[in-house]
Symmetry: C2
Subunit: 432 residues, 2 copies
């Protein structure tokens, strides 16, 4: 087969990893692809000491790459959604295939970009956009194609998982671990994107659309971060046989699709509860296959490059042979407009933590409120009062209920004279 010529846009962490992997593993990659992959041009405003480009044709104008008539496949690794979008649009208009690691671009503009690519007969590949080196896009689009996907749940932000793991292992508090994560380079100076779940939301929107065959709807997702998780919640979870993970969850129900990122208590015996540190994992439940799990590094130079290069090989295997990529961008050739449920319509179980006056009758008032709302209690822990305290911590695990019912019961409990301060709730999923 004839060689396939690619152009790489960007020379940051992932781009340098991509060039390094393509160079180091050239013999394996060529033997797998069946044709040579040639880096025809690199577009980057500045050099990167992590990557030797002395033998490459580097242009300081990134747009040179998408205008280069020799380039058949553009590898977009600059990130962001403004210049990257222009670049991808121009690449498509020029009839070039696109490989990208850009989750924000796909989550927010995928619908229109895929339509443009299909009109031009080119492909946009984006394995690296979700969960770094884990081939989860391939699993959903191809490996699980026999299934109705019922739900999926993923640890899809390594920074958040690192923080929660440290909080549990060492009993530390959120702010303290965040500071360390920033020093280690796991978290950005502005950590909002990671700890408030926006990064995870980008990834979840992509996964859910592929799983259920619906258009990308980033504006519909519910997102709650981990900054309010208290050390006592982590230890009470442990006591109840649970762990707290920041999960992206998508579930296809008869009422509509649940699409939500939030801290979640899950049974410690589940494999995904044991995914620690910066690692990612996605659990997918199909009607035929049952539960399957995919685990690996969700970020980093070479793990992400692994996914980028896998996409390059995928496209090159077809393009080199003069064929078209026939796997649909969104897994399905025709998409369904499934309604997305608001968070108040979601059904799940809950953990509640509150501070109640240590007096007879208080607990019965609390349980009465829940019972009146049709919410039954799975477990209840009441602690001894600390020295000199007249309030005690009360922890409840409820059965599955609709969120709006839980919230109204929670407000009624918080309004009791015998309950002081806020009532904390954390959603609980069995993932069984």
């Amino acid at each position: 087969m004839k060689p396939v010529k690619i152009g790489v846009c960007g020379l940051g962490t992932v781009a340098s990893g991509t060039i390094n992997v393509l160079t180091r593993n050239v013999s394996e990659i060529t033997a797998r692809t069946g044709c040579e992959i040639i880096i025809e041009q690199v577009g980057a405003r500045r050099d990167n000491p992590a990557c030797d480009t002395s033998a490459l044709n580097v242009s300081r104008d990134i747009f040179d790459v998408v205008r280069n008539p020799e380039v058949e496949m553009v590898v977009e690794l600059i990130g962001g959604t403004s210049v990257a979008k222009e670049l991808v649009e121009e690449a498509i208009a020029n009839g070039k295939h696109v490989v990208t690691a850009n989750k924000a671009l796909i989550a927010e503009f995928g619908n229109e970009l895929f339509a443009k690519a299909e009109a031009k007969g080119v492909t946009i590949a984006y394995e690296a956009a979700v969960a770094g080196g884990i081939p989860i896009i391939k699993a959903l689009r191809e490996g699980l194609s026999a299934n109705k996907v019922e739900w999926l749940a993923g640890i899809i932000n390594g920074t958040g998982n690192f923080i929660l793991t440290e909080m549990r292992d060492k009993g530390r508090d959120f702010a303290d671990v965040l500071k360390e994560a920033q020093e280690l380079g796991y978290a950005e100076a502005d950590p909002t994107f990671d700890v408030e779940g926006i990064d995870a939301a980008h990834k979840l929107v992509i996964l859910a659309s592929l799983a259920f065959g619906m258009p990308l709807q980033f504006d519909k997702i519910f997102t709650e971060g981990i900054s309010n998780i208290a050390p006592e919640d982590v230890s009470y979870a442990e006591e109840l046989g649970y762990r707290i993970k920041h999960l992206g969850i998508a579930r296809n129900t008869e009422q509509g699709v649940e699409l939500r990122v939030h801290p979640t208590m899950i049974p410690e015996k589940r494999l995904i509860a044991n995914v620690d540190g910066v690692m990612n994992a996605v659990l997918v439940k199909g009607d035929a296959v049952g539960p399957t799990l995919y685990y690996g590094a969700g970020a980093g130079s070479e793990p992400t490059a692994s996914a980028v290069v896998a996409d390059i090989v995928d496209v090159a295997r077809q393009v080199g042979a003069g064929q078209q990529v026939k796997v649909p961008h969104m897994a399905f050739n025709t998409l369904q407009d499934l309604p997305i449920l608001g968070i108040e319509e979601v059904e799940t179980a809950y953990y509640l933590r509150l501070s109640a006056l240590d007096q007879p009758g208080v607990l019965s008032k609390i349980t009465q409120i829940l019972s009146d709302a049709g919410i039954s209690i799975e477990a209840l822990i009441q602690k001894e009062p600390a020295e000199g305290e007249d309030h005690v911590p009360v922890i409840l695990l409820t059965n599955r209920t609709i969120e709006k019912q839980l919230l109204s019961a929670k407000a009624a409990i918080a309004a009791l004279d015998s309950v002081s301060g806020e009532v904390t709730h954390i959603r609980v999923e069995s993932l069984g």
Copy 2:
């Protein structure tokens, strides 16, 4: 795209699952494939109450299917290596694509069958041959194509994993759990295939060849079963922070390829150590991506059908569009003749258990033998003697060493007057 017509050979557990999934999920599968998949014919000697074939064209002569000019893709689900091989060869000769779940057929005859398929321009897809519904063949052939795979380790026999899980959870012995597994239908009346590792060996040979790009060499694999694992080994492993799993391990070293199935002690904190019951998991270490893990049901009607149907969709996506499947059968377009190491050349760590006279100086003789062989000791447990016993159990964990050195030191230890009975060894892998 035009419909793709398939023929299903066999009507056992996996075949009925395949027909049921294709029927139940027809709208999802058609939307994903981009064309209709029509079951043109089923070949089966007898009916299966688990599958309604009243609307299908069923022939009692299985060979009718591979001779039916309307059938473009033959789905071989009869198992075994005699009739199945004839069937697949005739399908290929007649220019039909093949999908199979037959691990023995691929492991033992894959090299010649793939060569025949390539000469005819057809594809043999075999995702279901390894680890049931887990898309591990796809991960190795496509998802990880950027990587030099350094090693892989898999729990690829559910029966064995069920037995080891029960032994650990309930302190039961091997024979007792095997009997229950047979009653539950997890193990065959003749359990040799599962518990002696032959089934796992078939799967490992396939995984290793895909990972390293070498021909299938089933005759070169080392296989050791789990029937000699004693309850005390399970509990000592636990005490040392390890679990015993029946693993298939393949490692690409400078000296050659390690290819071995045997009970293995692995640190309990590894995710794969927590894969319990009949579930399967494969851990793959790539040079770019690092460790990745794939988990799911390794057997059963619909989990295996999930993989069979994924292959049907893969092939139909190309065939329906008049294209060829361009992913090489063995992941690489050109294979390397890598040497396979004998087990005595393998380097790993070891657990040793022996019964020694409870006297001063005995331990020093044992440790001296190991030290003379250049084997250092990572951990040592000497137990109190039981009431009325003059011997005590001694447990040792060694550093990594070459197996032949370990075996000769083990023989010297067993020959000591102060050591009674056999010395047990179990290989130990950190999988880090």
